[in-house]
């Protein structure tokens, strides 16, 4: 007789370490970037072929989209560099990996904010 057993996986009740936050950010940013790939290729085409190139100064919605995109690119890049370094055995201790996770998280938000503020 097979019994259906419940499992405990209530995210609200779990305390996630900073490394796992950086990691899920890496995954989410990756998927986001993947979804914007068609737009990127379209933008490339516009930049090379069309008479009227893309006007990148949009309203608040465009600026928000840019902020999210910039965050995704920055976070994916920084978290990716963190992974490449730990592949080379740099920063695989617990303290080092925590520090690099914080650096990646904060760095990405900083870069994204800079893109928002600068013209």
């Amino acid at each position: 007789m097979t019994i259906e057993r419940p499992t405990f996986l209530n995210f609200a009740r779990l305390r996630f370490p900073v490394g796992s936050v950086a990691s899920i950010g890496h995954r989410i940013s990756g998927v986001l970037l993947f979804l914007t790939l068609p737009f990127a290729v379209w933008a490339l085409e516009r930049s090379l072929r069309s008479e009227r190139p893309l006007d990148l100064n949009g309203g608040p919605l465009a600026r928000l989209a840019f902020f999210v995109l910039a965050w995704a690119a920055a976070h994916h890049l920084f978290a990716g560099i963190r992974h490449l370094l730990s592949d080379a055995n740099i920063g695989s201790s617990l303290q080092a990996s925590r520090a690099s996770a914080w650096a990646a998280l904060i760095g990405a938000v900083a870069v994204a904010s800079a893109v928002l503020v600068l013209p």
């Binding site: 995954r27 990756g30 998927v31 970037l33 993947f34 790939l37 068609p38 290729v41 490339l44 085409e45 930049s47 090379l48 072929r49 190139p53 890049l77 990716g80 560099i81 992974h83 490449l84 592949d87």
Partner: protein, 111 residues
């Protein structure tokens, strides 16, 4: 059924990441130290066959890197085999199409 074995996919992801990193560093240096490029300069540069080839390599690296990454996500979250096959096929098709589209843009601009 998988196109890439565990280790091969892992390596491809790392290698394509290194290529992309090189591009990011190069682009950052160019933006930091070169004069801001206008549209005309960009079009002129991209029209050179070598530049087109460089951009093609970049596109290839992006597509390979994206494939391994998205495949990982699908393997994690999509369990039923037929659904997984369908999703992976869709993603692969989109990436191949994007690659072809990019190649056509760059090649037609260089010619």
């Amino acid at each position: 059924m998988m196109v890439f074995s565990g280790q091969r996919a892992f390596l491809l992801q790392r290698l394509s990441a290194l290529v992309l990193l090189a591009y990011v560093v190069a682009a950052a240096l160019r933006l930091a130290f070169g004069a801001p490029a206008g549209l005309a300069e960009w079009r002129a540069w991209a029209a050179q066959p070598l530049a087109a080839a460089i951009l093609l390599l970049l596109a290839g690296a992006v597509l390979l890197h994206a494939w391994v990454g998205v495949r990982d996500v699908v393997l994690d979250y999509v369990q039923p085999l037929p659904l997984r096959a369908a999703v992976l096929l869709l993603v692969a098709s989109v990436l191949v199409m994007l690659g072809a589209w990019t190649a056509l843009i760059l090649v037609s601009h260089a010619l």
